[in-house]
């Protein structure tokens, strides 16, 4: 009797679970999405992957460590460690130093630009406008500061340079009170 009852129950639950699995199927990998949401979306490729999403996929597949992203900085590593329940690691110095202070933007010197469109093609966020043999320009509002357009990609010297954004009352930050005044000056 008990065997029949359990078999019937197992069948009912099996059908129910099977239905739910099909009906409420989640497209894509949700863990990749939540990792991707933590990454700064600079698309710079300093982590060794061709963008933030591929890096997120590599982390989710356990193929990459969580400390490969310099723009995310130590706080980014910490956030990923909290999300994934892993130990926070110090940032991998091989990929470059963490971004400190004001954001950097790429600027094109219009006098020097020869209109080769190389930077237009490589920009991961379509922030560069221009056509062949016409001067190019970078839209400040979209530039992530990924540095992919810098020489050696740009064939002209001093055409594209990185420049810190101006400090205004909007992006100025109160200094950390934990840091002593003397250290701040240094």
């Amino acid at each position: 009797m008990a065997i029949i009852l359990l078999t019937v129950l197992a069948l009912i639950f099996g059908v129910a679970l099977g239905y739910v699995a099909i009906r409420f199927r989640v497209e894509g990998d949700p863990i990749v999405d939540s990792i991707d949401a933590m990454l700064p979306q600079t698309q710079c490729g300093q982590c060794g992957y061709p963008g933030c999403r591929p890096y997120a996929e590599a982390i989710a597949a356990d193929q990459a460590e969580i400390n490969q992203c310099p723009p995310g900085g130590e706080s980014g590593v910490q956030a990923l460690a909290d999300l994934l329940g892993r130990e926070p690691l110090p940032l991998n110095p091989e990929n470059g130093a963490a971004d400190e202070g004001l954001a950097m933007l790429a600027v094109i010197d219009e006098e020097t630009c020869i209109g080769c469109t190389k930077c237009v093609q490589v920009c991961p966020v379509d922030a560069i406008v221009g056509a062949a043999k016409h001067k190019h320009n970078i839209l400040d509002a979209y530039c992530t500061g990924c540095e992919l357009c810098l020489p050696p990609l740009c064939p002209v010297e001093n055409c594209i340079v990185m420049r810190a954004v101006d400090m205004t009352t909007k992006n100025w930050k109160w200094p950390n009170p934990e840091v002593k005044v003397e250290e701040r000056a240094a």
Partner: protein, 501 residues
């Protein structure tokens, strides 16, 4: 006697008001150069309507407000526009912003178009609002919110509160204004009454300013006997001296017992709150037709030779004001714009006086007053002192660890940065500094997250576009190949037929 309520927390602070308030209001000399920042208010910066080299009159509009939350800027003396460029503004950071610089000619000649209005009573509510806006009037209590935007509430107003509290130590300019210009203030209130139609108007003054209370009460009686019946709705209410009663939310609680909802505005509880200085500026705009080009300002502190109250042209460099007050006692001083509790330290004295500047406090240099910070002992004194019912010690931990979700949970955004918690802390932890730090860090974090979302979408759009182009190219290639094959097959057929024929 009116029933009064109490807000939680707050402090009784030493006043130091007698340093400056025994003096009569002096006229500060016209400086050689006037620096007028285009944003002296909350909201969008005004846009210049003059060019370098233009001759301007005193009171002439030199920058116009193009959005609702904005205020125009007027030349505060006559002269020539010398430059329109980035200059240091009074801000903690020492950053520069767009300013119009005027080289004064000393004549201080008013714009001939500005004329006194003999019958301001005849103005309609909309006309009054437009004139207040065009006069560049902003909240002179310190928040510098454009007043015209505040005077358009979407519900009925029960109480119009005129804020004459001035609860910070040292500051005396509102006190001086109430003592010297009570009639202007009351006529200003009568005009505002027309706009808002409140049931009652309350002028709130702390009980440490008996002369100001007496001056306003006498004026009310005088106007009543002169037959101005509408003054019946105006009352002067003396409130206990507790810092920060001058805060809008605290004052509304004290006078009406109501609490402004979180993230809400005073009109939601049927009140509108305006500073006495703003009210006097409204009088000037409507009766004399004059825009906001000057304000009363206290210059005081232990390091200034002759503490004083000045009527200052807006745009006057701070160094000129210091010189007018006899200079500093020594070179070891710190400049604070505003009061000792909520004011900001200035990096140098070349910055101009703006509409928000109510006081220049010349304190001893910070280097001389070294304090050692000790660890938090969880005594809870800060929570008892907080007038906003926050838990500063919790906020402190989370600010240190930059736990933004926790900071939201503990309502960091409601902190008014009054400084009560820092004063009572037995461990001398600069709590307000931590909260300001956390606020800017949190803001940056939010801006970055928003930018990251935008970048993610742009990357996805680009990738799908590249993918599409690639597919199209492949399809074209395949089609061409197929066409070529067909053609060559046809050719061979033709040649076969030809050879057969």
């Amino acid at each position: 006697m009116k029933k009064l309520w109490r807000f939680k927390g707050g402090l009784k602070l030493p006043g130091f008001k007698s340093l400056s308030n025994s003096r009569v209001v002096q006229q500060a000399p016209i400086p050689a150069r006037i620096i007028l920042p285009l944003r002296q208010h909350i909201g969008e910066a005004a846009e210049p309507v003059v060019a370098v080299g233009d001759k301007v009159y005193k009171g002439q509009m030199i920058a116009t407000a193009n959005t609702f939350i904005s205020a125009p800027v007027h030349a505060s003396s006559s002269g020539t526009v010398l430059d329109i460029n980035q200059y240091a503004i009074p801000h903690q950071s020492g950053v520069t912003e767009m300013c119009i610089v005027i080289e004064t000619d000393g004549a201080d000649e008013w714009d001939p178009k500005i004329q006194a209005n003999p019958n301001p009573e005849l103005l309609s509510a909309d006309e009054i609002r437009v004139r207040i806006r065009e006069a560049g009037i902003v909240g002179l209590g310190g928040a510098v919110f454009p007043s015209a935007a505040k005077l358009k509430p979407t519900r009925t107003i029960d109480t119009l509160i005129i804020n004459g509290i001035e609860c910070e130590p040292y500051i005396t300019c509102d006190d001086a204004l109430m003592r010297s210009q009570p009639e202007e203030i009351i006529h200003g209130i009568l005009m505002l009454r027309k706009l808002l139609q409140p049931l009652e108007c309350i002028i709130a003054i702390e009980d440490n300013k008996p002369e100001a209370i007496a001056a306003l009460q006498e004026t009310l009686v005088k106007l009543k006997t002169a037959g101005v019946g509408s003054v019946n709705t105006i009352r002067v209410v003396s409130v206990p001296t507790v810092f920060p009663t001058g805060g809008e939310k605290q004052l509304i609680k004290v006078l009406t017992g109501k609490e402004v909802p979180q993230h809400g505005l005073p009109y939601e509880v049927g009140t509108v709150c305006l500073n006495v200085g703003t009210t006097a500026a409204v009088y000037n705009a409507l009766y004399a037709g004059k825009p906001l080009v000057s304000r009363l300002m206290t210059v005081t502190g232990p390091q200034i030779k002759q503490p004083a109250i000045f009527e200052v042209l807006i745009g006057t460099p701070v160094e000129n004001i210091l010189a007018a007050a006899g200079g500093t006692v020594s070179d070891n001083y710190t400049l604070i714009m505003g009061g000792p509790m909520m004011g900001m330290s200035l990096r140098n004295a070349t910055v101009p006086v703006v509409k928000a500047s109510n006081c220049i406090l010349v304190e001893k240099s910070l280097a001389q007053s070294k304090t050692t910070t000790m660890p938090c002992i969880r005594c809870g004194a800060c929570a008892n002192a907080c007038p906003m019912n926050l838990l500063p010690q919790q906020l402190y931990w989370h600010a240190r660890s930059k736990a933004f979700d926790k900071l939201v949970h503990y309502n960091l955004a409601d902190c008014i940065e009054c400084g009560c918690c820092s004063i009572v802390c037995p461990s001398k932890i600069p709590l307000v500094h931590y909260f300001r730090f956390a606020k800017t860090e949190k803001y940056e974090h939010e801006v970055k997250a928003k930018f990251a979302d935008q970048s993610r979408i742009r990357t996805q759009v680009r990738e799908t576009r590249l993918e599409k182009i690639k597919l199209e190219q492949e399809a074209r290639k395949a089609r061409r190949k197929a066409e070529r094959l067909k053609k060559s097959a046809a050719n061979t057929n033709v040649s076969k037929q030809a050879s057969a024929g």
